[in-house]
C-alpha cells in the first residue's frame, strides 16, 4: 500500500482527518478499562490538545490513534477512522504500513527514540525508504527539505552526526522531521517538549504549529502542561481517570471551564504575575480497577452531591463545541473562574545577618568550569529562588553548598562560619543544619527501607533521638507533611510521586535544619501535586523560619514561594532581586527572554494568533 501524496498547499481545514468513537482500551486479560468512552474528531490542520495528569490515560489515547496499545493493554471496543480506514479492523501488517505514513508519532524523549548508533541522515532516509519501498535518488533532496522545515542545517556534515552530538532541542526536531517526513494526515505528539528548556520549547512549539498548518496535518498534542497546550491548540480535551471530562475550544475552556476538575487544574498552575498561593487538589486520582461507580472525580470534588455517585455522567454540550462530563456544569459555569488562591503573606527578607552566604564560588567538573564566581546571600526566614535553564549550574551550586560536589573554590559560610569543601569533612552539626531535598523522589528514597526507617535515618546519624522517641518524631513529621503515621510502615514503591516527595521533605526537616535546599523538587510531579507541595514547603518555611534555596526552571512557580530570585545563565549570576520586581520588570535581556518564552495561560492567546507572536514570527524565514 502506498500512502497517497497529500496536498501540501496550505488550505482551510476541511472535514475530519481522524474520528474516534467510543474508544475503550482495557487491561488485557482482566478487561479493566484504562480509558473508556473516548470520542473526538480532529479536522485537518487542527491541533487538538489532550491534557491530563499522570495516569489519566492521555498517552494511551494517543497511541490508540496509531492502532497501538502498550503491552498488557488492548483496544477493547470503539472505532478509529483515519485516512479512510477503520484502524481497528486492520491487520497488524496493514497497521504497520499506515504508521509513519498516514499517521505518525513523536515520542516524549527524543534521546531514546533515535537510534544512537546511526547517523541522523540515515535515520531520516530510512523513514522515507520504509514507505516508498526502497532507495530513491530523490530522497537526499527530501531529507534536506525536511531539515529545512524543522529549521535545522541541511548540510552533509550535520546529517552525518550521531544523535548524541545534537542538543535535546535538535534531537526533537529530528523526531519531528521523521514524523512529518511522509506527509501524514494525522500526527500524535506525546509531550515532545517535556524535557526541554523554555526557550528551546518555545522554538519547537512554533515549529510544530507551523508544520501542522503548512501541511494541513491533524495533530493530537498530548501534554500535562496546560499553558503549553493553551498556546498551541485550538481545541482542548481534558482527561481525568481514563475519561474525557471536558472538551472545547481553548479560549472557552481556559476562560470558563465547565468541569470542577478543569477548574482545579487551572487553579494549580502558577503564574508569573502571581504572588499568590497555589491550590492543590485534595486526594488522588483512582487507579484503573478502583474507580468509583459514578463520576470519577466525585471523591475529590467540592461540589459533589449524591447524584454524582450514582452513574457516570454523560459528556454533554453546555455550549456550541463545548462538552462537559459533569451534571453540575451549569453551576460551575455560573461561578467566576479564579485562577489562584489568596495572596501569600511573605515576611520581608530580614535585614539580619546572612544565614548562608556564597562568595566567589567557582565550581568545575574536571577542568571545565561550570559556575563562575557566584556570590549570593540568604538570610534567615528567607526563600531565595535560583532559576536558570538546564546546564546553567544551579544544581552544581546547590550540591556544592550541601558538600556533595567537591570541586569548588571560594567561600560558603553558614551562620558566619566557612564550610569545608565536602560533606565528609564537615562537622555533624553543620551537616544537620543544611538539608537537601532532591529533584526526583523516585531516586532519593531507598526502595528497600520503610518510610519510617527513611525518616529516622537523620535522627540516628546525628544522634538526636532513639527508639520510641524516634518513632514519635517520625509520626509527628508525617503529620506535618500531611501524611499519616500509618505511612511509616510502607515502602516507597507503595507511594505516589507526591507522597514520596512529602516523605523526602519529612526526612529533611526531622533534624531541625536551618537551611533547606530544594533542587527542582516539583519537576517530576503533576501540576496539582506541585501546587500542594509548594504550598506545604512555603508554609513549613515560614512556620519554621527556615532559610530556603529553591532551585527551579519554572519561573511562574517562583512567585508562589520565594521573596527573592537569582537568575543564573551559563554559570553566571545575571540578575538578583525581589521576585516581583525581577519577574515583572526584568532588568536583563536574558531574564526578559526567559519570561517571554515561558508559556502561560495569559499569553496563550497571543501565541494562537499564529505567526503574530514574537516566537512564531521568527520561524517563517527558516521554513521557506
Amino acid at each position: 500500500m502506498t500512502v497517497p501524496e497529500l496536498d501540501v498547499q496550505p488550505s482551510e481545514p476541511s472535514g475530519a482527518a481522524v474520528t474516534v468513537q467510543d474508544l475503550t482500551v482495557a487491561v488485557s486479560p482482566s478487561g479493566t478499562p484504562v480509558v473508556s468512552d473516548i470520542s473526538f474528531e480532529i479536522a485537518r490542520g487542527e491541533i487538538l490538545g489532550v491534557v491530563g495528569e499522570s495516569g489519566s490515560g492521555k498517552t494511551t489515547v494517543g497511541l490508540a490513534l496509531l492502532g497501538h496499545a502498550r503491552r498488557g493493554l488492548r483496544i477493547a471496543s470503539g472505532s478509529i477512522h483515519l485516512a479512510g480506514h477503520d484502524l481497528l479492523a486492520l491487520s497488524e501488517d496493514q497497521l504497520r504500513r499506515l504508521r509513519g505514513g498516514a499517521v505518525s508519532y513523536v515520542p516524549q524523549d527524543p534521546a531514546s527514540s533515535l537510534n544512537p548508533a546511526l547517523r541522523v541522515g540515515l535515520q531520516l532516509r530510512e523513514v522515507l525508504e520504509a514507505h516508498s519501498g526502497g532507495r530513491d535518488a530523490g530522497h537526499a533532496e527530501r531529507v534536506a527539505e525536511m531539515m529545512r522545515e524543522v529549521a535545522l542545517p541541511d548540510d552533509r556534515a550535520f546529517l552525518r552526526r550521531y544523535p548524541h552530538e545534537l542538543s535535546g532541542g535538535q534531537q526533537q526536531r529530528i523526531g519531528l522531521a521523521m514524523a512529518f517526513a511522509n506527509r501524514p494526515r494525522v500526527i500524535v505528539l506525546d509531550e515532545p517538549t517535556t524535557g526541554l528548556d523554555v526557550t528551546t520549547q518555545a522554538h519547537v512549539l512554533s515549529t510544530i504549529r507551523e508544520l501542522a498548518r503548512l501541511h494541513n496535518v491533524a495533530a493530537l498534542y498530548v501534554s500535562h502542561d496546560l499553558a503549553v497546550v493553551a498556546g498551541l491548540a485550538r481545541r482542548v480535551a481534558v482527561m481525568y481517570a481514563g475519561q474525557v471530562v471536558e472538551i472545547g475550544t481553548a479560549d472557552e475552556l481556559f476562560a470558563a471551564a465547565g468541569h470542577p476538575y478543569t477548574r482545579r487544574l487551572i487553579g494549580a498552575i502558577p503564574r508569573l504575575t502571581g504572588g499568590r498561593s497555589l491550590l492543590g487538589i485534595p486526594g488522588r486520582a483512582a487507579s484503573p480497577g478502583s474507580r468509583p461507580p459514578g463520576c470519577s472525580f466525585a471523591p475529590r470534588c467540592a461540589l459533589r452531591i449524591d447524584e454524582c455517585e450514582e452513574a457516570v455522567p454523560p459528556l454533554r454540550a453546555v455550549a456550541a463545541d463545548h462538552l462537559v462530563r459533569c451534571i453540575r456544569a451549569e453551576l460551575v459555569l455560573g461561578q467566576e473562574q479564579s485562577r489562584v488562591g489568596d495572596p501569600i503573606e511573605m515576611p520581608a527578607a530580614g535585614a539580619d545577618a546572612a544565614a548562608l552566604s556564597l562568595e566567589d564560588v567557582v565550581a568545575s567538573y574536571g577542568r571545565q568550569e561550570v559556575v563562575h564566581s557566584v556570590s549570593l546571600g540568604l538570610t534567615a526566614h528567607e526563600c531565595l529562588a535560583l532559576v536558570g535553564e538546564s546546564g546553567s549550574g544551579k544544581t552544581t551550586i546547590a550540591r556544592a553548598i550541601a558538600g556533595l560536589h567537591h570541586n569548588w573554590t571560594g567561600t560558603i559560610m553558614l551562620g558566619g562560619v566557612p564550610l569545608e569543601t565536602s560533606a565528609r569533612h564537615r562537622s555533624a552539626d553543620v551537616r544537620r543544619r543544611i538539608q537537601y531535598i532532591f529533584q526526583n523522589p523516585y531516586g532519593s528514597l531507598n526502595p528497600r527501607r520503610t518510610v519510617g526507617q527513611i525518616i529516622e535515618q537523620p535522627l540516628h546519624v546525628f544522634g538526636l533521638t532513639d527508639g520510641r522517641e524516634a518513632g514519635q518524631r517520625v509520626a509527628e513529621m508525617l503529620e506535618r507533611v500531611s501524611l499519616t503515621a500509618a505511612y511509616a510502615a510502607r515502602y516507597p514503591d507503595q507511594l505516589s510521586g507526591g507522597e514520596r516527595q512529602r516523605v523526602a521533605i519529612a526526612r529533611a526537616l526531622v533534624c531541625d535544619p536551618a537551611v533547606l535546599i530544594c533542587d527542582e523538587v516539583t519537576s517530576a510531579l503533576d501540576v496539582s501535586v506541585q501546587a500542594a507541595i509548594v504550598e506545604l514547603l512555603g508554609n513549613l518555611q515560614r512556620d519554621l523560619g527556615l532559610s530556603m534555596l529553591f532551585i527551579t526552571h519554572n519561573l511562574p512557580l517562583v512567585r508562589s514561594i520565594a521573596q527573592r530570585v537569582a537568575v543564573l545563565h551559563n554559570g553566571e549570576l545575571t540578575e538578583i532581586g525581589e521576585a516581583a520586581q525581577v519577574l515583572e520588570t526584568p532588568g536583563q535581556p536574558y531574564t526578559r527572554q526567559l519570561i517571554a518564552d515561558t508559556p502561560s495561560l495569559e499569553t496563550a492567546k497571543a501565541d494562537l494568533g499564529l505567526g503574530d507572536s514574537p516566537a512564531g514570527a521568527a520561524r517563517p524565514g527558516e521554513l521557506a
Binding site: 546525628f462 500531611s482 505516589s496 512556620d543
Partner: protein
C-alpha cells in the same frame, strides 16, 4: 510539638495499597523451577547430612568381591575393592557440599565487598580492584585449583581458598555492575550529605539493592564450585583419598562401567541432580527478579 501545616490535601485518605510484597526468594518460590530446584538440593543435602548415620556398612568396610552387582546386602553393588557403593554414596557427599558452600560463601563475601567498593569509589580504586580481578579471572578455575593443590598439597583449606579466590572476581563483576546504577541514585547522595560512614552506605544502603543479581550469581557459582571440587577429587586430589567422595568414586569405578555401572553412575547422578538443583534455583530467582523489573518498567 510542631503544629501540622495548614494544607487541605490528605493523600492518606486515598486507597491503602496491600502490605509490601514478599521478598525475592519468597516470590521466586511461586515458580515450579525454583520449587523443583529446592527439592533436589534439599534432598541431596539431607542425603549428605544423615547419610553417614543410615549407611548400612562402614564406608571402608569390605563386604564382597570387587564390582559385584546389586544384591540384598549391597543394594547398589560393590566398588573396585569390594566396598558397598550405597554406603560410600551416603558418606561421600558431605565433604563436597561443605567445601563448596564454604568456598562459595567466602568468594561471595569477598567479591561483593570488592565489587561494591569499586562501584562506589568511582576513582582509581575502581580500576585497581577490577583489573586485579581480571588477572585472577584470566586463569581457568580448575587450572588454578589444580596448581594450588599440586604445590601446597590436597588440604581442605587449600581447596577452599583456591575456589574462593577464583569465585570472588566473578561475583565482584556482577556486584559492581549491579551497584553502578544504584550508587548514582540520590538516596546514596542523601546519606553522603548526612555524613553516614562509607561502610554503612555500602552495607545498609547499597547492599540490599543489589541482592537480586547477587543471589542469582551466587547460586550459579555454587553450581560451578561443586563441579570443580568433584573434578579435583576425580583427578585424585581429594584431601583424604581413602574416605568416600563422589568425585573419587567416579574415578575409581569408571573402569567397570560396563560390568557394574552403579559404582560410577550413582555419584554421577548425585552430582548431576545437585548441580541441576542449584541451577534451577538460580534460574528461578533470576526470572523472578526480571519479572519484578518488567512489572516496574511497565508502570
Amino acid at each position: 510539638m510542631i503544629p501540622a501545616a495548614g494544607i487541605s490535601a490528605s493523600p492518606a485518605d486515598a486507597q491503602v495499597r496491600p502490605v509490601r510484597a514478599s521478598s525475592l526468594m519468597r516470590r521466586s518460590l511461586r515458580l515450579w523451577r525454583t520449587r523443583i530446584g529446592l527439592i533436589l538440593v534439599g534432598a541431596l543435602v539431607l542425603l549428605a547430612i544423615i547419610g553417614p548415620f543410615v549407611a548400612p556398612h562402614g564406608q571402608s568396610a569390605f563386604i564382597g568381591p570387587p564390582f559385584s552387582n546389586p544384591s540384598g546386602k549391597a543394594p547398589l553393588g560393590t566398588d573396585h575393592i569390594g566396598q558397598d557403593v550405597l554406603s560410600r554414596l551416603l558418606n561421600g557427599g558431605g565433604s563436597i557440599l561443605l567445601t563448596a558452600i564454604i568456598a562459595t560463601a567466602a568468594g561471595l563475601i569477598a567479591g561483593t565487598v570488592i565489587g561494591m567498593a569499586a562501584a562506589y569509589a568511582r576513582n582509581a580504586l575502581d580500576d585497581v580492584l577490577m583489573r586485579g580481578m581480571d588477572v585472577i579471572m584470566a586463569f581457568p578455575q580448575v587450572m588454578l585449583a589444580l596448581v594450588a593443590v599440586a604445590v601446597v598439597g590436597p588440604h581442605n583449606w587449600v581447596i577452599v581458598l583456591a575456589i574462593a579466590l577464583t569465585t570472588a572476581p566473578r561475583i565482584a563483576r556482577v556486584a559492581r555492575g549491579a551497584a553502578l546504577p544504584v550508587v548514582e541514585r540520590d538516596f546514596i547522595a542523601c546519606s553522603e550529605a548526612m555524613g553516614v560512614p562509607r561502610w554503612r552506605i555500602l552495607f545498609v544502603d547499597l547492599f540490599p539493592n543489589i541482592l537480586g543479581p547477587l543471589m542469582v550469581e551466587a547460586s550459579l557459582r555454587l553450581t560451578y564450585s561443586i563441579g570443580v571440587i568433584a573434578a579435583l577429587a576425580f583427578l585424585g586430589l581429594a584431601p583424604n583419598p581413602g574416605a568416600a567422595n563422589w568425585g573419587t568414586m567416579i574415578q575409581e569405578n569408571r573402569i567397570a562401567l560396563a560390568v557394574q555401572p552403579w559404582g560410577a553412575a550413582a555419584p554421577i547422578i548425585a552430582i548431576a541432580l545437585l548441580t541441576m538443583g542449584t541451577g534451577l534455583i538460580g534460574d528461578g530467582i533470576a526470572r523472578t527478579a526480571a519479572g519484578i523489573d518488567r512489572a516496574r518498567g511497565a508502570e
